[in-house]
C-alpha cells in the first residue's frame, strides 16, 4: 500500500509538471484533506446508530442463533473437520459474526478457528484445505448490510443511501460462492502432499 500510495503521488506530480499544472496541485491537496475530514465526521452518526444496534444484536444472542442456523451448511463445506471439534464452533461463530457485519468479533473467532484447524494439520506451516477455504470465505464479504458504505453515502448526501443494499447482497453472494468453488476446485487440482514420515531419532 505504501508503494502504491507513493507511486500515485509521484505520478500525479510528474504528470502535473509535464502538463504545466503544478499550480493546481496545492489547492487540490488542501481541499481534499479538508473534505476527507468532513466526510469522516459525517460518518460518525450513522456508525454510532449501527454499532449500537449491533451490540444489542450481540447481547440478544443473534450471533449464536445465526451460527446454529449455518451449521448444516458449514459441516458440509468442511467435511474434514470433526463436527464436535472446537475448530467447528469457531468457524461457525466467525461466519455468523461476518454475516452481521461484526468485524471486531469476526476476526478473533476466525483467528481462533485457524489456530484450532492447525492442530488438525498433518503438515504444520502449510495451509490445509480447510484453512484455505476459511480464508477464502473471509476474503469474500458476507455481511448483509454494508454499514460503513451506507454511512459514507449518507454523509455524501445521497438521496437514497440504502438503495445499494440489495445489489450488494447479490454481489457478495456471488463472491462468496466463487470463493468456495475456487477453494474446492483448486484443492482438488493441487492436493496437500501427505504428511512427511515421522523423523525417528
Amino acid at each position: 500500500m505504501g508503494v502504491l500510495w507513493t507511486g500515485l503521488l509521484l505520478l500525479a506530480i510528474g504528470f502535473a509538471a509535464a502538463n504545466g499544472r503544478l499550480a493546481a496541485l496545492t489547492p487540490a491537496a488542501l481541499d481534499a484533506a479538508r473534505a476527507a475530514v468532513t466526510l469522516a465526521l459525517g460518518l460518525a452518526g450513522v456508525m454510532a446508530l449501527w454499532l449500537g444496534l449491533m451490540r444489542v444484536a450481540e447481547e440478544a444472542g443473534l450471533v449464536r442463533a445465526l451460527a446454529r442456523a449455518a451449521r448444516p451448511l458449514l459441516r458440509r463445506l468442511f467435511p474434514e473437520v470433526p463436527p464436535e471439534h472446537p475448530a467447528m464452533a469457531s468457524i461457525l461463530m466467525n461466519v455468523a459474526a461476518n454475516v452481521l457485519g461484526l468485524g471486531n468479533a469476526a476476526t478473533p473467532f476466525g483467528v481462533k478457528a485457524m489456530q484450532e484447524l492447525e492442530t488438525l494439520n498433518p503438515r504444520p506451516g502449510t495451509a490445509t484445505d480447510a484453512q484455505a477455504l476459511l480464508c477464502a470465505i473471509n476474503t469474500a464479504s458476507l455481511q448483509l448490510v454494508p454499514a460503513t458504505v451506507l454511512a459514507l453515502r449518507a454523509a455524501a448526501g445521497s438521496q437514497a443511501p440504502g438503495e445499494i443494499i440489495g445489489p450488494t447482497i447479490v454481489a457478495s453472494a456471488c463472491g462468496a460462492v466463487a470463493a468456495v468453488a475456487a477453494a474446492k476446485v483448486l484443492a482438488r487440482l493441487r492436493p496437500l502432499p501427505p504428511a512427511p514420515p515421522a523423523e525417528g531419532r
Binding site: M1, L8, A16, V149, A171, A187
Partner: protein
C-alpha cells in the same frame, strides 16, 4: 422481478433490523438501552479511525485528478474499460480494495464526492466496496495467527472471489439502475 425483490430488500433491511433487533433483545430480557449506548460509543471512534486513510486517499486521488493524470488514464483505458462498464473513476477501487480497507473507503468517498452519490459510478463503487474484502490483510492476519507460511491455493481462491464480486457488482448495478 429480481429488480423488485432487490428494491424491497434495500428498502426493508434497515427498518426491519431497527425494529426487530431491539424487539428480540427485549423478549430475551437484554438491557437494550445500555447495550445500544455502549455500542454506539464506538461510532465516533470508527469515524476517527478511518479519517487518516480517507485523507491519504483523497489527497492522492485529488492530485491525480488535478494533474490531468486521471483523465489521461481514462482516455487511454476507455476502449478497454467502457465495454466492461467500468468508469475510470472506479478504477482505483479495483487496485486498492484488496490492499487496504480504509483506502477502499477513501476511494468510495472520492467517487461519491466527485461524481455524486447517486451516479452510476457512485453506486457501482458502493456495491464493489460492500461486496468484497481486504483480501491481503485478511490472509496475512489469519495465516499469520496460525503460523502458516505456505498459503497454497488460498490467495488464488480469494482473488478469484474478488474478481467475481467486482464483476457481479457491475452486472447487478447495470441491471438495477
Amino acid at each position: 422481478m429480481l429488480r423488485a425483490a432487490l428494491d424491497a430488500l434495500s428498502v426493508a433491511a434497515v427498518p426491519v433490523l431497527l425494529a426487530g433487533v431491539p424487539l428480540v433483545a427485549v423478549l430475551r430480557r437484554v438491557k437494550v438501552y445500555p447495550a445500544f449506548l455502549d455500542g454506539a460509543k464506538q461510532g465516533f471512534e470508527t469515524a476517527v479511525r478511518i479519517l487518516p486513510a480517507l485523507v491519504a486517499i483523497f489527497v492522492a486521488l485529488a492530485l491525480l485528478r488535478a494533474s490531468g493524470a486521471l483523465d489521461a488514464a481514462a482516455g487511454a483505458l476507455s476502449p478497454v474499460l467502457e465495454p466492461l462498464g467500468i468508469p475510470a473513476s472506479v478504477l482505483p477501487m479495483i487496485l486498492v480494495r484488496p490492499l487496504s480497507g480504509g483506502g477502499a473507503l477513501g476511494v468510495v468517498g472520492d467517487v461519491l464526492r466527485s461524481e455524486g452519490a447517486d451516479s452510476y459510478a457512485g453506486r457501482l463503487v458502493s456495491v464493489m466496496a460492500g461486496s468484497t474484502e481486504t483480501t491481503f490483510y485478511v490472509l496475512a492476519v489469519y495465516m499469520g495467527a496460525a503460523g502458516i507460511a505456505r498459503y497454497r491455493h488460498a490467495l488464488p481462491a480469494a482473488l478469484i472471489a474478488d474478481l467475481v464480486g467486482f464483476t457481479a457488482a457491475i452486472i447487478v448495478v447495470q441491471l438495477m439502475f
